[in-house]
Structure formats: structure tokens, C-alpha cells
Subunit: 344 residues, 2 copies
């Protein structure tokens, strides 16, 4: 079936492929579906001459071809990387990017949303913390790292699996008393699942763990006091620490070094984010790497998708572990033994 004259829509592709509309949407959003379904959709799209690009171009003429990204700030490794990836994804689709930074003022977030609405944009990608933030359904909105409501798609890394991965890695590397440290906003967001995943993995192994949460208002000083309170005769009570961000890991490592505690000999530390020095060099620490490029691509795809209502409410993209010198990595031989143990 050819739909000549006007550009094919996703519905045409679904009909041609003999699959549900949701399946087509998933394929174009990069969300996993069965291999044969993916093939069917791609073949149908090729036959019809449908492409994500031509599709984006088929948007109504009153569109501004502008997307707004709302972020706390840009001088922060994860936010800079995310903004860079979103900019790349929009530019290659001939969209332009408006960036609004709230400078961590949560009262500024609603104002930012209002501002970008007034100035007409086709959609918003928001990484926000304001409690009770109200987002109306009339403007396409994709949230990053925070689930707001079933009608607003949220994209994040798989924080829960990341937390579990960190806990399991610490235990595999010999830690008997792992600690989870978190500092962050009081608003519950997807990133809180890092601690939940850590706890679940420790519970499963019956590990003697501790999970300690601090709010931004407490400051790093509260974490330093907590650590100092658990140093007895110059020895830290914990032999492994999972920090909710690489930035926190960096400050914790520096503090422990000031106290004469060696990393990784005395305590092994894993962070979260996959932050590299100067964005290109070594990791700051052993870390759970966020798939920043895929997160940006997924958020942009969903936002520009005409049938956005078929998008899943929450998409958690897979993370990976990377050694960065703050854990005692086994030799290749030991690694094999670990894998073997894990499989029995």
C-alpha cells in the first residue's frame, strides 16, 4: 500500500506492518520490542518512505520548531552533558533549543515553564525539583529523572538497577559492611531509587548495610560529621561506600584522605553518573555510568512524536559499571572466577 501525495504517518506504517500503533511508536522511540516486530516496522517504514525526519518535518506549519530545556544550571557535569546531547539531537532534526536555567531556585521553575510557554515553544524537556509542580497537558512535556504524572513521560537512567549494581559490585569485591550515602533534594525523584536498589541488593544477600540520607540543606558538613562519627581508632566502620553521585564520592574521598583513610585499600567507593575529568579523560572514581546520549535522544524522540500519548510513562535506560581506581578490581583471572561464582 502506498500513501502517495502526502507524507506517510505512523498510522500508515502500523497498517502496512500489521502491528499496533504503540509498537511503531516504540520502534521509533528506540524502546525495545521483539526483533521480528522491529524488522516488520522498519521494512514497512522503508516501503512507505517514512522516516523520523520526514515525520518531524510533517508537523503542522504553526509549529515553532523550538524546544525548551529547563535545567537547574549548566555548570554541573551531568547537566552540561545532558544539555549538549539534547542540543545535538535537536540540531540534527533542524530544531532549535531554548535553555532556561533555574540556578537551583525551585521557585524559579514554575516561572521558567510559564516563560517558555508565553514565548511559544513546541515542547519542554524539564529536569525540575519544585514540589507540586503543575504541568498542564496541552503542551508536550517530557520530564527527566522525575516522575510527575501518568500523562507526562519521564526518562531516566535505570537508577534502581544502578544502585543494585553498585551494591553487588562492592560485595563481590569483598565489602562486608557497605554504606549508602545520599545528599539531594527533599522532593522524591527517580534518583532516589539508587538507594532503594542498593538496599534491595544488600537485603537479598543478607548484608550488614547502612543507608544514610541527607538533604541539600544539611550540606556536605553533615556527611563529614557522620563519617567522623564512624571512625574508631583511625578505622572507618564501613569497607565500601556507594555515593549517590560522583560529585559526592569526590568530596567523600577527599574527606577520608584527610582523615588518613586510604581509598580503595581501606574502603572501596563507587559513585553514580560516569563523570570524566574534563569530560574526556579518566573517570573521577569507580562509577555507575548514565547513558546520557540515549537519555537525550529518547526524550527528544518522545517529545517530537506526534502520537505522544502512546509513549510509556516511565522509561528507565540501562546503566553500566566502570572501574575508576577507587575499587580493588580483580585481575582478569579473578574476574572469571567471580563470574563463575555468580552463575552457580
Amino acid at each position: 500500500m502506498r500513501n502517495s501525495g502526502k507524507s506517510p504517518t505512523m498510522k500508515d506504517v502500523a497498517r502496512e506492518a500489521g502491528v499496533a500503533l504503540g509498537t511503531v511508536s516504540k520502534v521509533f522511540n528506540g524502546i525495545p520490542v521483539g526483533k521480528s516486530y522491529k524488522q516488520k516496522v522498519e521494512d514497512a517504514a522503508a516501503r512507505l518512505g517514512y522516516s523520523v525526519n520526514s515525520y518531524a518535518r510533517g508537523l503542522r506549519a504553526d509549529k515553532t520548531r523550538t524546544v525548551a530545556l529547563i535545567l537547574p544550571c549548566l555548570d554541573h557535569s551531568f547537566f552540561s552533558e545532558l544539555a549538549n546531547a539534547v542540543s545535538y539531537e535537536l540540531t540534527r532534526r533542524d530544531y532549535r533549543l531554548v535553555i532556561a536555567t533555574t540556578q537551583f531556585d525551585i521557585k524559579a521553575e514554575a516561572r521558567c515553564i510559564q516563560m517558555v510557554r508565553q514565548n511559544r515553544v513546541d515542547g519542554i524537556i524539564g529536569l525540575t525539583y519544585a514540589p507540586g509542580l503543575e504541568i498542564s497537558d496541552d503542551l508536550p512535556y517530557v520530564s527527566i529523572d522525575r516522575y510527575i504524572s501518568p500523562s507526562i513521560p519521564c526518562v531516566s537512567s535505570d537508577n534502581f538497577s544502578g544502585g543494585a549494581l553498585a551494591a553487588n559490585r562492592l560485595m563481590e569485591l569483598g565489602c562486608a559492611k557497605p554504606l549508602f550515602l545520599r545528599i539531594g533534594s527533599q522532593v522524591i525523584g527517580e534518583t532516589d531509587k539508587r538507594g532503594a536498589g542498593f538496599i534491595a541488593a544488600c537485603d537479598m544477600k543478607g548484608a550488614d548495610y547502612t543507608a544514610q540520607r541527607f538533604n541539600d540543606e544539611d550540606g556536605l558538613e553533615a556527611i563529614y560529621r557522620f563519617l567522623d562519627g564512624h571512625i574508631i581508632d583511625g578505622k572507618l566502620e564501613y569497607d565500601g561506600i556507594f555515593c549517590c553521585t560522583d560529585r559526592l564520592a569526590f568530596y567523600v574521598i577527599n574527606h577520608l584522605k584527610r582523615r588518613g583513610i586510604r581509598v580503595p585499600e581501606d574502603v572501596q567507593i563507587i559513585g553514580y553518573d560516569g563523570t570524566r575529568q574534563f569530560f574526556t579523560a579518566e573517570y573521577y572514581c569507580s562509577t555507575i555510568v548514565q547513558p546520557v546520549k540515549q537519555m537525550a535522544e529518547t526524550a527528544v524522540n518522545i517529545l517530537l512524536n506526534e502520537e505522544r500519548s502512546v509513549a510509556p510513562a516511565l522509561i528507565c535506560l540501562p546503566v553500566s559499571y566502570a572501574a575508576g581506581g577507587t575499587t580493588c578490581e580483580p585481575t582478569a583471572f579473578d574476574e572469571e572466577a567471580l563470574q563463575w561464582q555468580a552463575n552457580i
Copy 2:
């Protein structure tokens, strides 16, 4: 004299203060003028109820209240900081920010400029490298770190003084054979003055210096090869290095450490930018700190200034030196002696 009814302009302020229009422009652009002139302008502005903000609001109604920032990328410490500061300056003036990243593709820069023009913005702040980039005079444009033509204002840090400051500091700290290393674009920009300032300061002291330039195409490998070629019997021929960026300093330090050369004991190193780990913690190395916030504020002020033609063609903002562990800083007592020596 009161100009009631309509908002006062800069011309009104100049008349009221009894100073030249250029002086008023300088004061509002944060460019140093004599103290008494500054006071006169500020008093006149207060009497007339003139403020930079009300002034910006007085722009013609057909303005978009949107400014575009063109950058190579956002996942780079200096660019992230600059973008963050520009975002802050625009937001507090009720302007919105469009960001276009060229991902270091210099062919993309002209396209970016075209794109933001088509989409209507009130002005552009550009940090670009494309050789022969043509910028028409009809759209307000402020360049960062690259002088394009007399009619296009350029804002940068005082790169020449920064280079001289680095050279003088190395020599004060006892370096007899200082080296300058640069890697960058083939297009001449303001940042090339870092090397020129270094050379001028070394010449003035009759120092036995070397200045070595590499292009991005050469890659870091070329710098490593150069350094290796100047290690004789495990000893580097140079006792001080000024690197054109902190990022280059970081890679140079790591390479020298791999070769068993100690920093700062065997060779002292100063970078340029003032890059902090995670944007908030320690400096990566001893460094010449760029005044990023002031650069952003100055660029935004000039861009939104109605009488932009009075803006100077090139504004170089003062830099400062910060110790960051890769130089052998003197004790407070020695520092005093150094100051005393410098004054005789």
C-alpha cells in the same frame, strides 16, 4: 532636567551627567572609567530613574526578547560555565536564551548563524572558529574570544596579561627554562595572545624560554612526543610549563607523571581558565583564572545596549592567578620578599 513621559535613554543620562555618551556606555558595560565619572553617571541615572533593566525593556515592541549563544559544545568546562553565566544574565533581564552547539564542526557555524537569524532573535553571542566567517552588521552580534572586525564587539579575558602573568610567576618561583605549550584551532583568536604575553614577559627578563604550538589536528600525541624528545636521562629540559588551557595542563601533568617526572618538584606547571573539579571544588592545577561571570555580563550588556555602536571593539577583562598545587608556592614570608624584590 527630567525627561518625563518616556523612558530616559543613555543620551539623556550623558546630558544630565555632563559626560560623553561613550562614558555612560562604559559605566553600564562595567568597563573601568575614572571614579568621579562613574559617580556622575550613576547619580544622573538615579535622578532620571534610568536603569539598565528599564532600558532593556524600552526596546522596540517587535523584539523577540531572545538571544542566541553559539558555542562549539556544552560538555566542556569553560563553555558550560560561560553558557551558565549567560543564561543567568539573560534570565534576570527577562530574556530567553537559544543555544546552538556546533559540536566543533566549523562548517556548522555559518549554518548556526543562519538558523538563529531565520528564527528571529534580537542578537547573537558567538564563540566561533570558522575562518572567514561573515557576519552582517544588521543583527547585533558580540563575539567571545575572537576579534572579527571593528564593527563587531569582542569580549575576552585579558589573554596577553594572563600569559605574561604565568611567565612572570614561573620565573618568580625559580624557573630558569620556561616552556609554553599550546594546542588549538588554526584560526587566530584572542586566546593566541596567551603565548604572546608569555613570550613578551620572558623576553623582558631575558629568560631562556621555548614556545611550542600545535594544532588540534596534531593531537595530544604530538605534545607527548615533543615532551619525550626533551627528557634526557629521565630529566625534563624545562623546569616550568605554561599550558594554554587547564585541560592541556591536566594531560601534560599525567604524561609527565607516567615518565616519572614530578610536578611541582621537577617541573612547575600553570594552566589557563581557572577550571575547578566538579565546578566547585579545587582547581585542577595552578592557573590563570578567567572572569567568566564578568565576561558573560559584559557580552550581554553590550548586546542589549541600544547604542551598541559606542561599544569598544575589543574588551579584555582582567585575570588573576590562583595556586593549585602544581607550583611550589612560597611561604607568606617568602612571598613578602618576592614582592619586595619585584618593587626594587
